[in-house]
């Protein structure tokens, strides 16, 4: 994980360097201008970051609730499962701009549209991981639980979900990181967040604004991913669940 962060950090700083270098040829003061912009508009940037974060957290909570339920349901109905996973797959393949465009006539411009689009996007990783996490459990463990006299509900809550949790969490992390990126685009339909900074920066040709937005989105993505990873480690049964299921 630490490696991942440093790798991301590396990539990130190189990307920023790239922008900076290309900009430098015409305007050597870009770094200074960005720093200046960041310090001048720090309250606005912070506000937008919080807005962005709120959009992502709100959407993620809904997405987890919906996807885990769907994943659990299709784990009981094998024939149904492939169709549902296929639909999720299609939803994810639709380009984000197109998806948002589809949403506007139905939900209008605003927060709701962003949330709905983001939820639809993040279905696949969580649904698929919930489904496979449950399906790939050692059948002997599930059979033992049933044989002991546990009801199907207890088997799900006490055995299946806890054992599938590492896999489900991995799906949630994938969804979260993806969502943070797409949430920036959702600013286009008025969902708010750091995307506003990036888009108005582009339309005004205001480079420090674009860079500020990009930095903000990246920080949220890396921090969020790490937070979820840390949470998973912290609350797993001393990491044993993973050790044994492997």
């Amino acid at each position: 994980m630490d490696q991942f962060i440093s790798c991301m950090g590396n990539f990130f700083s190189r990307a920023v360097n790239g922008i900076v270098l290309s900009a430098q040829s015409e305007d050597p003061g870009i770094i200074m201008r960005t720093i200046d912009y960041l310090s001048r508009r720090s309250d606005l940037i912070l506000d937008l970051m919080l807005e962005h974060l709120w959009l992502v957290v709100f959407t993620l909570v809904i997405a987890i609730a919906v996807s885990v339920v769907v994943g659990v349901i299709i784990s009981y109905y094998e024939s149904f499962a492939q169709t549902v996973l296929g639909i999720c797959q299609v939803l994810m393949v639709i380009p984000s701009m197109a998806m948002l465009a589809f949403m506007v006539p139905i939900f209008g411009i605003g927060f709701t549209t962003g949330v709905v689009a983001l939820v639809l996007y993040s279905l696949l990783p969580i649904v698929r991981n919930t489904y496979t996490g449950i399906r790939e459990l050692d059948p002997a463990i599930v059979e033992a639980a049933k044989g002991m006299g546990m009801t199907e509900r207890r088997v799900l809550l006490k055995i299946k979900l806890p054992l599938a949790r590492p896999v489900i969490m991995a799906g949630i992390r994938t969804a979260a990181v993806m969502m943070i990126g797409i949430a920036a685009i959702a600013a286009y339909v008025g969902a708010g967040g750091l995307g506003e900074l990036i888009f108005s920066g582009i339309s005004r040709g205001h480079q420090p604004m674009i860079i500020a937005g990009a930095i903000g989105v990246s920080i949220i993505a890396v921090a969020f991913d790490y937070l979820l990873y840390w949470g998973e480690k912290r609350f797993s049964v001393e990491g044993r669940t993973r050790e044994v299921t492997e």
Binding site: I141, E143, A144, K146, R240
Partner: protein, 370 residues
């Protein structure tokens, strides 16, 4: 207690039934052992009894009640189940694993705790050492014992045990078998037990059900199975040396009274007395016990010559192995062969001397049978 009537199971997509028209009755308090080659339908039969698999045809009666009409959850809570693959829950401690059924039955916490400790001790796992471990930190044999503890913790009247001692070494296995028989004598549970080991089947069972390709070939007491196998398949299964197998069937305490042997001597018996006893002994050895009848050792003719002394204590040699009186004659034979002696001392659980068994005694038993 358990009655299977025309039971059959065809798995979806299969044409050959896994179990075919099976009729079997297990009386209350009996241990019925299912034996047969791999894939003959033993596990499938067990899983139909606790309704993990729904039968394709036939009926199951549990205490006269039709199992297929009972609530499966209630049914399973009263049937202890040891699954062949052990199937411990990897995310729960051993304590939580063993406490599964009591928790499902909503027992009070302190009662659960006490019962878990009790049953873990029973299967030879020190609760203080193992309770808070996770299954991944146990050996295969230890896991298997947790599986047995988990199945019996709530004292179910019926137990289904699918190769419960498959993964333990022969010595631990013999210990667990004896422990099992001792518990069973007290509890009188109705048990269906699967094993691949015909010796284990003979030792543990009241009746043996031999299966092949989903069909019941013979259901009989071990003794009948040995003396009158239904067909060649059964006689091949029980093996050639059937008279030796009979030694599994008889416990030492059943013949101990009939063998008359010289009394043991106390540890402060004088040399003269030892000599006298040695002359009378057919194994040319005398057994020495202390005041509480605890086994101290043995004195052979040579020991008397080799060492100088005055009383039995001075000549006495340690005994490296003994058997308990509830062990089988086969256990006695193994110990004799291991010690390279023609006899073995029999003691009770407190190491008190109960008698001596010789090779000659075993020979007599086998001869009587033929």
């Amino acid at each position: 207690m358990i009655k299977l009537e025309g039971l059959s199971k065809i798995f979806p997509g299969h044409t050959i039934p896994a179990v075919k028209d099976l009729n079997l009755e297990v009386k209350e308090g009996d241990v019925c052992v299912l034996v047969g080659p791999s894939g003959c339908g033993k596990t499938t039969t067990m899983k139909m009894i606790n309704r993990l698999y729904e039968p394709t045809g036939g009926k199951i009666y549990i205490r006269g009640e039709e199992a297929l009409k009972m609530d499966p959850i209630k049914l399973r809570l009263d049937i202890g189940y040891v699954i062949q693959e052990i199937g411990l829950f990897p995310h729960m401690t051993i304590e939580e694993n063993v406490a599964t059924v009591p928790n499902e039955k909503h027992w009070p916490a302190d009662q659960v705790k006490q019962k878990v400790d009790e049953v873990m001790t029973l299967v030879g796992l020190d609760p203080n050492v193992f309770k808070s471990r996770y299954p991944s930190a146990l050996s295969g044999g230890q896991r298997q014992r947790v599986g047995v503890a988990r199945a019996m913790v709530s004292d179910p009247p019926i137990m289904l045990m699918d190769e419960p001692f498959g993964a333990v070494d022969p010595i631990t296995r013999a210990r667990l078998q004896n422990e099992f028989l001792r518990i069973q004598e007290r509890m009188g549970k109705t048990i269906v037990f699967v094993t691949h080991d015909i010796d284990e089947a003979i030792k543990m069972s009241d009746t043996i059900a031999v299966m092949r390709e989903g069909e019941l070939i013979q259901h009989a007491t071990p003794s009948d199975l040995l003396s009158a196998p239904a067909d060649e398949f059964v006689s091949n299964l029980v093996g050639r040396n059937r008279s030796i197998k009979r030694l599994h069937l008889i416990r030492i305490n059943e013949i101990l009274e009939d063998v008359n042997r010289a009394k043991p001597i106390s540890e402060d018996a004088q040399t003269e007395e030892i000599k006298k006893q040695l002359d009378q002994s057919d194994i040319r050895t005398v057994i020495v016990v202390d005041r509480n009848n605890k086994l101290k050792g043995i004195i052979g003719v040579n020991d008397l010559k080799r060492t100088t002394g005055e009383v039995a204590k001075d000549y006495c040699q340690d005994v490296s192995d003994t058997v308990t009186s509830d062990a089988t004659l086969n256990d006695a034979l193994s110990v004799m062969l291991e010690l390279g002696e023609g006899y073995v001392a029999v003691v009770n659980e407190d190491d008190q001397y109960e008698g001596t068994i010789t090779l000659g005694d075993l020979l007599n038993v086998v001869k009587e049978d033929n």
